[in-house]
C-alpha cells in the first residue's frame, strides 16, 4: 500500500559560475532536461511545472522554459520568493502531486548573476532639486546609507553581530573560521563556482564589505540552474527498481513567512521563521536534529550560518558558537554543514539555490557524491531564507524501496 508521500525522482544542478555563452533559458533547459533524464522520465510525463528566475520575475519564465523543452499544455506557475524562490517552486510541484492533481511535476530555478554587485540598497534615484517626501517613511531622499544600511552584506552582518551580543563569543575571527570551513569543503565540489581553499589570514585580510563580512565571507553572485522532478509514491511504485532505489523521500516540505516581532521592522528577523519552519519540519518528518547526517543551510554570509545552527536547532539555544568550535559542522564532524561549499564558495544564483541545496543532499543520500560523500548518509535537511521574508526547509530521506 503506497502512502501519499512525495518523492524526488530526478534532480540536477548545472555547474555554478560564469556562463558567458549561455542565457538563462540555456541554463534552465540544461538543468530541466538533465533532471528528467536523471529520473528516467520525459517532459510528457509531467503534470505541472513551477519555475523561478528572480531577475526575470516579470517574465513568463516557466512558459519560456516550456518553449525550449516541450510545450505540453500543463499548468505552469511562475514563482518569485526572493532567495527561497527555488524551494518555493519545488513546493508548488510537491503540493500539486500531494493533492493528487498530478502524479509527477517539474520544478526549475535559474539565475544569471555573474558580475552583479551589491544586491538591494544599491539602486536609488538621484537626489532631486527640491526635497520631496516619498515612501512610507516620508523620506526626502533614499534612506539606505543615511539611516542604517539596506545592503545584504550589512543586514546579515548585523544579524550575526546581534547573536554575538545576545550570547557572546561571536567575533570576526569566528565568523571567518566558518567561512574557512565552507571554502575548504568546496575543494571537493567540481560544480562550485569557487573551489579554492583559503587560510584564516587570507579570509580576514581580504576586502572588507560590511564588518565582519569580508568578500570571501559573502555569497558569490554567479550563474546557474537546478531542477527537480517529483513523483507520487503510488506512481513511483510502478517504476523500475532502479528508479525506486535512487528516489529520495521528501519527509517534510515546509514554507514559512516572518511573523511579527518587535524590531523586525528595523532589522529583518530571519530567526523566528526559520525556527518555526524547522520545528514544523521535524514534527512532520518524525525525526529530530540528532537524526540528521548532513545539512545544507543558507550561508548567504558567514554571519548567517552561525545563527542558523541555532535556528535549525542543531545545537542548544544560544550554543551556536560552542557548537561550531566543537568541529561538528566540518565534513569530518558530527553533523556536517554545507559540504557543498555553501553559498560562500559554491555560489548563489538566487532562484537556483533552493533546489541546488536539495540536489546536494540527494547526491549523498543516493551515495553518489564521490570524494565528498558523507558515508552512510540517510537523512538530510536543506534550508533557505529569502529576505522579506520566506523560509523553506526540506527534510529528505534515503529510499527504503527496492
Amino acid at each position: 500500500m503506497a502512502s501519499d508521500d512525495v518523492w524526488i525522482l530526478g534532480i540536477n544542478m548545472t555547474k555554478f559560475g560564469k556562463h558567458k555563452d549561455k542565457d538563462y533559458l540555456d541554463l534552465a533547459s540544461e538543468a530541466a532536461l538533465a533532471a528528467l533524464a536523471d529520473g528516467g522520465v520525459g517532459v510528457k510525463d509531467m503534470g505541472v511545472l513551477a519555475a523561478g528566475c528572480l531577475m526575470m520575475s516579470a517574465a513568463p519564465v516557466a512558459q519560456s522554459i516550456q518553449k525550449q523543452i516541450g510545450q505540453t499544455g500543463i499548468p505552469a506557475y511562475n514563482v518569485s520568493n526572493a532567495c527561497a524562490t527555488g524551494a518555493t517552486a519545488l513546493r508548488v510541484a510537491y503540493l500539486t502531486v500531494k493533492s493528487g492533481e498530478a502524479d509527477m511535476g517539474l520544478a526549475v530555478g535559474v539565475e544569471k548573476l555573474a558580475g552583479a554587485g551589491l544586491l538591494a540598497g544599491g539602486a536609488r534615484k538621484a537626489d532631486g532639486d527640491a526635497w520631496e517626501r516619498s515612501g512610507r517613511y516620508g523620506a526626502v531622499a533614499p534612506v539606505d546609507g543615511r539611516i542604517g544600511t539596506e545592503t545584504m552584506p550589512g543586514v546579515f552582518a548585523q544579524i550575526g553581530m546581534e547573536y554575538g551580543h545576545k550570547y557572546g563569543g561571536a567575533n570576526f575571527e569566528l565568523f571567518a573560521e566558518i567561512s574557512r570551513k565552507n571554502h575548504f569543503h568546496s575543494t571537493l565540489n567540481p560544480l562550485a563556482a569557487y573551489t579554492k581553499e583559503m587560510t584564516l589570514e587570507e579570509i580576514m585580510g581580504d576586502i572588507m564589505i560590511a564588518y565582519p563580512n569580508t568578500r570571501p565571507m559573502c555569497s558569490a553572485n554567479c550563474d546557474g540552474a537546478a531542477a527537480a522532478v517529483v513523483v507520487s509514491e503510488s506512481k513511483l511504485r510502478t517504476l523500475s527498481k532502479e528508479q525506486q532505489r535512487r528516489a529520495v523521500k521528501i519527509s517534510a516540505s515546509i514554507l514559512t513567512s516572518d511573523p511579527y516581532q518587535e524590531a523586525c521592522q528595523v532589522l529583518p528577523d530571519v530567526n523566528t521563521l526559520t525556527r518555526m519552519a524547522a520545528k514544523q519540519a521535524y514534527e512532520k518528518a518524525g525525526i529530530g536534529p540528532s537524526d540528521l547526517d548532513l545539512v545544507e543551510l543558507h550561508d548567504c554570509f558567514a554571519t548567517a550560518e552561525l545563527v542558523h545552527y541555532d535556528n535549525l536547532m542543531l545545537c542548544e539555544e544560544g550554543g551556536a558558537v560552542d557548537f561550531f568550535k566543537s568541529g561538528a559542522t566540518w565534513r569530518t564532524g558530527r553533523l556536517p554543514v554545507n559540504v557543498s561549499g555553501g553559498l560562500e564558495s559554491k555560489g548563489h544564483p538566487i532562484a537556483a539555490t533552493g533546489i541546488a541545496n536539495i540536489w546536494e543532499i540527494c547526491h549523498h543520500l543516493r551515495g553518489e557524491a564521490g570524494p565528498r560523500q558523507i558515508e552512510g548518509a540517510k537523512v538530510g535537511l536543506a534550508h533557505v531564507i529569502g529576505l522579506g521574508s520566506a523560509c523553506g526547509v526540506h527534510v529528505l530521506e534515503k529510499s527504503g524501496l527496492a
Binding site: A123, D129, R146, I147, G148, G154, M161, I207, Y260
Partner: protein, 135 residues
Amino acid sequence: MTADKPRQIPFVDYLELGDSPHLVAHECKACGARFFDRRNACASCSGTEFVRKPVPTEGELRTFTIVAFAAPGIPVPFVSGVIDCGGTSVRANVVNVPADPEHVKLGMKLRLTTFPIGKDGEGVEAINFGFEPVA
C-alpha cells in the same frame, strides 16, 4: 525666517526637530506595537488605530556593521546599527565615532543627534538623525 537661518525640514517624517529633537512612532492603540513607517493596519494585531508616541532619545547599541561598500554618494566606511531605545528598536547610523571595531562596541550607550545633509535648490536644509556615543 531670516536669510541667515535657513528653513529646515526633517529627513524623514518620523523625526521631529525643534528644541529637543526626537523620533516619533506610530503606536498601535490596541497592542502597543510601534512602527516608524505608515501602516494600513497593525502587523501584530491588525488594529487600525494608531497614536503618535515619542521614542526615548537614548539607548544601547544592540548590533552594528561597518559598511565599506555602499550606494554612490554615501561616504564610507560608516556604521549602521540597531539601537534599543527603552524597548523600541531604532535603525540608524552611529556617528561621531571612528568607524572601526575598536571604537564601536556592542552594548555601548548612545544618544540621538541631528545634522544637516544638504540643501535643495530653494535653500531648504534637510536634517537627518544619527546616534552618537554618550560622552
